[in-house]
């Protein structure tokens, strides 16, 4: 008989609040990302695992969906279970292809065939096929070895060096569980995702990987910022009590989510929501929101099968408008670069990508991509209240160039008799130069991108734990810039909103209101909490 191991406390930074109790499980780094494929047998195994994972998630989704939704998911299941679908992929793997390449190549002709069908009902099936392709591709490009998740249960605390967005999204977090990483900061992409899905996340874990024994019991405390390995009974019962209290709190907040938001003086405050990927909106009620404040479009560019065509984009934008049911939807043009590289588009080898060719700078280098996006946006604008916001604007002439390109595509659409509308164009203010020289801009609206504005003004990276204290959203310098932008908006009759993590932070809200802001864009998951904070609860 061995004595119970002593409780071990590892310090960390809480990047998404919450508590998790479970067994540690090491993330398995997959090295196959940029290197060539492994042996055919290994690639075959990876595709098999990704297909099995996709089938499991389809079955789980179908259980939760209504009869019609379930039947549509059943179609995807039937496809995956059909050897005809996968046979070409196995053949390509045997010829030395990677699992991802083989899978994409097997799906491409099918999708093209349906896209080219003359019957709209069959054309619409191309969407199902594309969704299925992405579902399996997500599993394959995940940073986790898919097979490793085979019998994973909810109450697991995943630990590792880092985790990419696709790896995070491949996980099933509905049962609970948490994530603890040695690297990354509170504003890294995985942290954004974790907060949006209310998954407790610790970053900056102060220990070596070897000190995290696979399978050991642990408590993840992302209210404080520590990982407790081999918890004592007292620690466990404390964690269980906190879990229960958090569940009650969430329930209470949810009750107040539909209320109208207003300041103590009775002035209305608008709360829009951020959207990273429209697939997350399924089953969510737009009722408590004022619309979509920032719909990011990067998700369209990360799918298998290359850059998205106009139809794919148009359908995605229309889906956002349909969800919003008449409420305004602000779509941000592609904001690649910086921490969001896109293969084949963003430059490689920049020594400082955050100060490099990103956002609108990149879009203006690839006007053909921007043109496609603007065409899709102008067409979608005919279907609802759609607005377009342009990221990383530094100079007024960048906006002028976007307007000129928009005027061109609108003229083309008019000539071709395609339904369209020229959407309002807004500027995302995240470069200090644009914030300081705000009077030089004439835009239809302004959206303050607080994540980038703060890191540029404070010269403190969003994901660097060492300068986290400098990353202060309500530093006088930031509030002063916000006041200037609000004043310019008032003078020109243009709406000013603020997005980014700080928008959902109750601690920042009083200062932002004081600076004159009356509109915010927050993650849907944070809406109830921030409305409760506004109501003084």
């Amino acid at each position: 008989m061995t004595a119970a191991p002593a409780e071990l406390c590892v310090a960390a930074v809480a990047a998404s609040p919450g508590i998790a109790i479970g067994r540690l499980r090491r993330l398995v780094a997959r090295n196959g990302k940029s290197t060539g494929p492994a042996t055919p047998a290994e690639e075959r195994q990876r595709l098999e695992a990704a297909v099995a994972l996709a089938l499991r998630s389809l079955r789980a989704l179908a259980e939760k969906s209504d009869a019609l939704g379930a039947e549509i998911l059943e179609f995807q299941q039937a496809l995956l279970e059909d050897p005809e679908l996968l046979d070409p992929a196995w053949a390509l793997i045997d010829q030395g292809g990677s699992a991802l390449d083989a899978w994409s190549a097997a799906m491409a002709p099918l999708i093209a065939e349906y896209q080219g069908a003359d019957d709209p009902v069959f054309q619409a099936r191309a969407d199902d096929l594309a969704d299925l392709r992405d579902r399996v591709a997500d599993g394959l490009s995940s940073d986790l070895a898919a097979a490793d998740r085979e019998d994973e249960e909810g109450r697991t605390i995943l630990v590792g060096d880092s985790l990419g967005p696709s790896g995070f999204l491949a996980g099933d977090w509905r049962q609970g569980g948490g994530l603890a990483l040695r690297f990354g900061g509170a504003t890294s992409h995985v942290a954004l995702l974790a907060r949006a899905q209310k998954v407790p996340l610790l970053v900056g874990l102060a220990c070596a990987l070897d000190e995290l024994p696979d399978g050991a019991e642990a408590v993840l405390d992302a209210e404080g910022g520590r990982l407790l390995i081999h918890p004592t009974p007292a620690t466990r019962s404390w964690a269980e009590a906190r879990l229960a209290a958090r569940a009650r709190e969430a329930e209470r907040e949810q009750g107040g989510i539909a209320r109208l938001a207003a300041t103590a003086a009775g002035e209305a405050i608008r709360f829009y929501v951020n959207v990273d990927d429209p697939r997350w909106l399924v089953g969510q009620d737009p009722g408590p929101t004022d619309g979509i404040g920032v719909a990011r479009t990067e998700f369209l560019f990360h799918r298998a099968g290359g850059l998205p065509d106009e139809e794919t984009q148009y359908r995605a934008y229309v889906r956002l408008l349909e969800w919003a049911q008449g409420r305004p939807v602000t779509v941000r043009t592609l904001d690649a670069g910086g921490d969001k590289p896109i293969a084949g588009l963003t430059p490689e080898g920049e020594t400082n990508p955050f100060l490099g060719v990103r956002g609108i700078r990149l879009s203006l280098v690839h006007p053909e991509q921007l043109r496609i996006q603007l065409r899709a946006l102008a067409r979608a604008a005919a279907r609802g209240t759609l607005k377009v916001v342009v990221p990383m604007v530094t100079l007024p002439r960048e906006i002028d160039q976007v307007r000129a390109l928009l005027a061109e595509v609108v003229a083309e659409l008019a000539q071709a008799g395609v339904p369209h509308r020229s959407p309002p164009i807004g500027v995302m203010i995240e470069v200090p130069a644009a914030a300081i020289a705000i009077q030089e801009f004439a835009a239809d609206f302004y959206s303050i991108g607080s994540n980038d504005l703060i890191q540029y003004v404070m010269a403190a990276a969003r994901d660097c734990a060492g300068v986290a204290a400098l990353y202060d959203p309500i530093h006088p310098a930031i509030l002063d810039l916000i006041r200037r932008i609000v004043a310019h908006g008032k003078a020109t009759g243009a709406e000013v909103t603020l997005c980014g993590d700080a928008a959902a932070d109750p601690a920042c809200l009083p200062a932002f209101l004081d600076a004159g802001l009356r509109g915010f864009s927050v993650p849907l998951s944070a809406l109830a909490h921030i409305k409760a904070a506004l109501a003084g609860e």
């Binding site: 179609f75 039937a78 059909d82 005809e84 679908l85 009902v121 099936r125 199902d128």
Partner: protein, 102 residues
């Protein structure tokens, strides 16, 4: 594919595609799922001379892109071939259980 050709079917029948939107995803899933419950080799084609395809493959059945009013030849070989064809005919007669318009 070649093993599906040229043999004399043990059981066969003709049915008409009735769903208003053709044999699209949901009706096709119903058909292939039902076909898979039989051990017999089941195939179908668009009458009178379309290519025969495996009725258990959703990829193949959807690939025919059958529109409303299309007439299908069904054929099955194997011990339960007769039962398979009878079941598929019954499904077609029920309009592929396609209650919805989409």
């Amino acid at each position: 594919m070649s093993n599906l050709e040229a043999t004399t079917p043990a059981a066969n029948a003709q049915v008409t595609v009735t769903p208003a939107t053709g044999l699209h995803a949901r009706p096709a899933v119903k058909l292939t799922k039902l076909a898979k419950t039989f051990a017999a080799t089941v195939r179908l084609r668009q009458a009178p001379d379309g290519p025969w395809v495996d009725a258990k493959s959703i990829v193949k059945v959807m690939g025919l892109k059958l529109k409303p009013g299309a007439v299908l030849d069904l054929a099955a070989e194997g011990a339960d071939g007769e039962a398979a064809v009878a079941a598929l005919v019954a499904l077609a007669e029920r309009g592929f259980d396609d209650g919805s318009a989409g």
